[in-house]
């Protein structure tokens, strides 16, 4: 069964703060109150939050590199860059007014999925081509652009302790 870390930005920060303070509390009270199962639960929770944080960082780096057109850097974050290519997306911006973000981490903490709200600047080729369109393409145009709100969906896998993107897609609202 997957466990969900609700990581809508504010709540995630609040939860992370609580989680980080918890071990201190545990350490402080361990002589009198700790049990093996409590420790295990707290460690699992902390690990989950660390994973969520790492996944969010991978997603953030992915967006940064996509926006910069840094293909090599994008590829370095992915197991299969072709499966993480966002065709038609020119830039992504985190959308604070979108849906709550969610990161679901598998119980074995080896795979995860994430849904993070973004506004995408989409770019679609003007079809069908004609001489004027082809001329426009020669100078980086020949496309229609608009901003669309939606969700960046990704699946992740942990390899040698590092989270990698297996697949990414942008779904419009």
């Amino acid at each position: 069964m997957n466990k969900t870390v609700d990581s809508a930005r504010r709540r995630f920060i609040w939860n992370a703060g609580a989680a980080l303070s918890a071990p201190l509390a545990v350490v402080a009270s361990s002589a009198s109150a700790s049990t093996t199962s409590d420790e295990s639960s707290l460690n699992t929770r902390l690990a989950m939050l660390e994973d969520a944080n790492a996944i969010r960082e991978v997603a953030r780096a992915y967006v940064k590199h996509v926006n910069a057109g840094a293909h090599a850097e994008v590829a370095s974050l992915c197991t299969d860059p072709a499966a993480a290519r966002l065709d038609g997306i020119r830039a992504l911006t985190a959308d604070p007014h979108g849906h709550d973000d969610a990161i679901d981490i598998a119980a074995d903490r080896r795979t995860a999925t994430a849904r993070i709200s973004h506004a995408a600047e989409t770019e679609r080729p003007i079809e069908p081509p004609c001489p004027l369109v082809e001329m426009a393409r020669a100078q980086g145009g020949g496309v229609t652009r608009k901003t669309e709100r939606g969700v960046l969906e990704g699946s992740f896998v942990k390899i040698d302790g590092v989270w990698k993107i297996e697949r990414a897609a942008f779904r419009t609202d």
Binding site: G69, I126, P128, C130, P131, L132, E134, M135, Q139, G141
Partner: protein, 573 residues
């Protein structure tokens, strides 16, 4: 006696020799430096200068006379060379080649600020080795004991949209339009008779608000570079021309010129954008030395042998397809013609009878024929009683097409008769303009009155938004040619090209125009321009290895200004 010199072939038809490096080297070796019709300046004589450039060469010069210098590049060996210098205000421009090489420098020095802009130029850097290449370096003239200046000259859009008439000291007259940040138009009034405008990739460098450097290379043609410093207020220039003409003779001279400011058209960048950066969407400027964006229609639109073209057309004809980026803003299909029968009687031309079955099907035959031919058509009512429609002429030997404008208020018709194939290319359209009258029940056509060719559009610029993301601007550059200009992402003018054109006046602010994309993709574009509704309707006629396309055009217009150039074409409107 003929007063205007017209060439046997216009520039886009000249088969420029593919000069080899050895041929170029031999021609350059024979020159001792640029010639000049005006006295060369002695402003640099006796001086030693060190020019330091950012990310470029350091050039140490010693000027021994007004036509001899010694130069060392990057601390290398000093070599002697011929040069020529001219001044404009506080600007000094000089040019020299490096003997034994196919390289040289065009240098512009601001004597007031000691800023310098250096164009390194060379031959042999492209497939067509006669095409001059250039790399621009910005820098300064070193002043011993002083800190280097922090400012630099740089690219700009502050000169975009201007136009000038120029007369050089050697008698060469041109009109030059600067409608984009990447390209310019030049009309050779004396060299080529001023019939057509041509386009070339161009650098625009700002010195200050009235002084600029302009530099074009006639890519796809002779490959010649024309570079000058201009004063926009006084319309004065000093410059250099370097290249090989249509006879392969070296043109290497410095010149002084005077002219007239002919106008300023609109710019479409956001306010505050002064063009210090050129934005090209997902494209980037080529990173190689001298890399620039060049539209190469000769290379990207190969000639198709006639047999292959005929076979392709026999296989595929696309007539008014639904999906068409050029017609995203077309007006509604007209119902005016549906059910009508009429005859179009052209002066000194055919007489064609029509029966319009509905809004999309017509039948036609020439007078005297018994059999009708069925065609698909589209029509638009651009102004009350003015109908434009187009159709193919099935069975015609040259895959003929008609683009027709009928004015029912006056029973007049003008038709652009397109045919596929020219003496130059099979997949290139040609066109004839037919004037005539409409014969129909209820109409009595005029005996003498006809639509007329007009020069009222000459010098005007109109932008055309065909569909979301697809906008161009027409510059009606001469009475016989227009340019189409594509906008960059930020609204700057970008790539452009030119072709022969003509304009017929249908009514006030209503013009029937065509342009031919000759030595390019071969398209014949025909549009009815309504400057009251600011919309066009039209028909594109095109054939290539994929077959024939007859497609509609429909775009929204914006006025983009006008250059006052009629007087240079011996016309007045």
């Amino acid at each position: 006696m003929q007063r205007t010199r017209y060439p046997r072939e216009q520039m886009h038809r000249i088969k420029y020799t593919k000069l080899t490096e050895a041929q170029i080297g031999a021609k350059l070796a024979a020159t001792s430096g640029p010639t000049s019709a005006s006295p060369l300046s002695d402003v640099l004589v006796g001086k030693s200068l060190t020019i330091k450039t950012d990310d470029g060469p350091t050039l140490v010069y010693r000027f021994s006379s007004n036509n001899r210098l010694a130069v060392a590049e990057n601390g290398g060996k000093t070599v002697a060379a011929g040069y020529g210098a001219l001044t404009l205000d506080h600007m000094a421009m000089f040019s020299h080649l490096l003997p034994g090489t196919q390289r040289g420098y065009q240098v512009v020095i601001d004597q007031a600020t000691n800023l310098a802009t250096v164009f390194e130029v060379w031959f042999g850097g492209y497939d067509d080795k006669r095409e001059v290449q250039r790399q621009i370096y910005y820098g300064y003239v070193e002043q011993p004991g002083k800190e280097p200046p922090k400012d630099r000259h740089g690219i700009t859009n502050r000169i975009e949209g201007k136009g000038f008439y120029w007369k050089q000291d050697n008698g060469v007259e041109t009109i030059e339009y600067y409608p984009t940040v990447l390209y310019s138009n030049f009309v050779e009034l004396t060299r080529l008779g001023g019939e057509l405008s041509f386009c070339a990739p161009t650098d625009y460098v700002k010195i200050d608000d009235e002084l600029y450097i302009y530099s074009r290379v006639e890519c796809e043609f002779s490959g010649t570079m024309t570079l000058y410093v201009l004063n926009a207020n006084r319309a004065e220039q000093v410059g250099v021309r370097l290249g090989f003409d249509e006879s392969d003779a070296l043109e290497y001279y410095v010149f002084r010129g005077q002219g007239e400011w002919v106008g300023q058209i609109a710019q479409f960048e956001p306010f505050g954008d002064v063009g210090t950066k050129i934005t090209m969407g997902t494209r980037q400027l080529p990173q190689a030395k001298g890399g620039r964006l060049v539209y190469r229609p000769f290379k990207t639109n190969p000639s198709v042998p006639k047999a292959d073209l005929d076979a392709a057309i026999a296989k595929t004809k696309s007539i008014f397809p639904e999906r068409n980026a050029m017609a995203g803003n077309k007006g509604p299909i007209s119902t005016f013609l549906a059910g009508k029968k009429l005859t179009l009687r052209y002066d000194n031309g055919p007489v064609v009878q029509y029966e319009f079955d509905d809004v999309a099907k017509l039948r036609w035959r020439r007078e005297g024929e018994t059999a009708w031919r069925d065609e698909q058509y589209e029509s638009w009512e651009s102004a009350p009683g003015v109908i434009m429609f187009g159709h193919l002429l099935s069975g015609a030997p040259d895959h003929d097409a008609y683009s027709v404008v009928m004015d029912f208020d006056h029973a007049l018709v003008t038709t652009l008769h397109g045919t596929m194939g020219t003496p130059y290319m099979a997949n290139e359209a040609a066109v004839k303009t037919l004037f005539g009258v409409i014969e129909m029940d209820g109409l009595v056509p005029p005996k003498y009155r006809r639509h007329q060719f007009t020069d009222e559009l000459v010098g005007r610029c109109v932008s055309w938004n065909y569909s979301p993301g697809l906008t161009s601007m027409h510059l009606y550059a001469t009475p016989h040619s227009l340019s189409w200009i594509i906008f960059l992402e930020n609204g700057s003018g970008g790539l452009e090209w030119s072709g022969p054109a003509s304009y017929v006046k249908i009514r006030d602010e209503l013009y029937f125009a065509y342009w031919l994309e000759e030595a390019c993709n071969g398209t014949l574009g025909t549009i009815l321009i309504n400057l009251r509704t600011m919309r066009n309707a039209g028909v594109d006629y095109h054939a290539d290895a994929n077959g024939l396309r007859l497609t509609s055009i429909g775009a929204h217009a914006r006025q983009a200004g006008r250059f006052n150039v009629a007087k240079y074409f011996d016309i007045s409107t």
